[in-house]
Symmetry: C2
Subunit: 336 residues, 2 copies
Amino acid sequence: MANPPSTDGYSFDPFELDLDKAFEIIRRSGACRVGLQVPEGLKRAAPNIAKQIKEKTGAEVIISGDPCYGACDIDMALCQEVDIMLHLGHAELGDGPDNVIFLEARMTTDLKDAALNAVPHLRSKKVGIATTVQHVHKLGQVLKILKEHGIEGLVGPAGGRIKYPGQVLGCCYSTAKALEVDEFIFIGTGQFHPLGIALATGKRVVAADPISGEVSKIDPQPMLRRRCGAISRAMDARRFAVLVSKKPGQRRMELAKRMKALGEGKGKEMFLVYLDNIEPDRLLNLGVEAAVSTACPRIALDDAAKYRIPMLTPPEFEVLMGKRDWEEYRFDEIYE
Amino acid sequence: MANPPSTDGYSFDPFELDLDKAFEIIRRSGACRVGLQVPEGLKRAAPNIAKQIKEKTGAEVIISGDPCYGACDIDMALCQEVDIMLHLGHAELGDGPDNVIFLEARMTTDLKDAALNAVPHLRSKKVGIATTVQHVHKLGQVLKILKEHGIEGLVGPAGGRIKYPGQVLGCCYSTAKALEVDEFIFIGTGQFHPLGIALATGKRVVAADPISGEVSKIDPQPMLRRRCGAISRAMDARRFAVLVSKKPGQRRMELAKRMKALGEGKGKEMFLVYLDNIEPDRLLNLGVEAAVSTACPRIALDDAAKYRIPMLTPPEFEVLMGKRDWEEYRFDEIYE
């Protein structure tokens, strides 16, 4: 199914969004005020979607204007303003406000070619399969191609913040870690998720991008060298900010307090800093020499270059404080 | 009094902050968790203040890391995390969460010279006096200098979101509007507040900066021309975002709904957009052609150049929609 007729001619291609389902839920609930939260990639469609909600359900719509980075990033203030919140593009993440409808954006792109491209690069006869939510409904295609080439594909179980078997999040690789395999095939775009699988499992990862058609073998060494560099640069810092996110799915206050106590035990000055979007200018004025981010792991691992001070994940801070050996480096994950 | 000894050698010069008073309130309240919110100009002092709170009261401190633009901008998420929130630098703004202590930052700078510098530029024998909160405790000096020069100084009454007689906010000029005078003297820094007085009262304004020593006669015409230009540029827009701030003292949802209805009545597509910090990149992705900001008036009036699309205040949108004559241009204010 491409876009349903209800999108009023507006195309989300290559995504499909079952807006009719959302309209039906809103109508049946009798909601008068509906919140609409969409990731940046779909923001341009938000006004048209708002217009359709109004037309199809009669409800007044308020669009969330703040950036949205995932299902971890529910607009709580908007949730309080409305009867129902329609959150587009991400899979539900376990516990959250009751009035949120998650409407996933699924990519129409087939995964057969990506799997075919990956096959020559695989070494094992049994491989784990992982992907992100927009492709998860097509993992059957990958299993089939692998089988045709005499390879057994395994898909790890859902659970915790992971809604679908085989799904990974930037902050959670439990479906991969549950599998006893020596090799993974990651279907999706970008290097962060397959790097996460490689670091979280310690196994070989072949990444196949269904959009570009490219295949690459993931080498975690460059990232590990950068992280080792960040830890070294933080060595002389006396003052650390421990960043705690306000975003409901990124808020790890207890972990932050443990990091604060760990640093203080080693004679460091540690400050808990609570914030919504973590951006470089937020830290400049605080005058700290390094930071530990307990928010989304990507802030330290993916955006490090944006910050003037070393930004560590909690396991990296443990390495710095001598509580963890570098050989036991752990990729920062959020499970609950 | 300069900085009290409790600041532990840390200087807030030229501001004075009675931190001892805050420590005493925290101690007496028995608070275990204290939030600390400071404006950008004091952010560098936040870690040292946090350290002192811990030392003097034993309470654990969480610093608000998001930008803070005024008493309108209480960090509500942090309020919910802590027993007491210490909000530095701004005067209380009427209703708000019960657990916030407002500790104003008062400038030690005398106002005599500023008043003396202004005297030759005044035309009337009776002038209104206005200033911002950091100078309001020294308005007596201005009254005295004026009197010595045969000029009667009048100070308008507090009330609503204005805590002190003679105080103005970027969003509220009620103390000035209450006075029957033909001329105002504004003591303070920057052009926005005296422009606000000029536009809100229609009267002559002489601005005297106690820091730089400069005096200027305020000419609202360039700003009015720019605003007329913004309204003209919005003329052909079909799609408008009506921006509503999440900040408790800037949230004007009912006004936003009236603006939406007004635009829709004139055949425009109007979208309510709820957001925390209003920044240019927030609007880029929404694909609207113009915006009406019901948040802090400075966003449309002071930051207009940062936005690619015309950004109007509610009264300006009324002009655009033909509901208000340009001759009845009104400076956007927030009273409650």
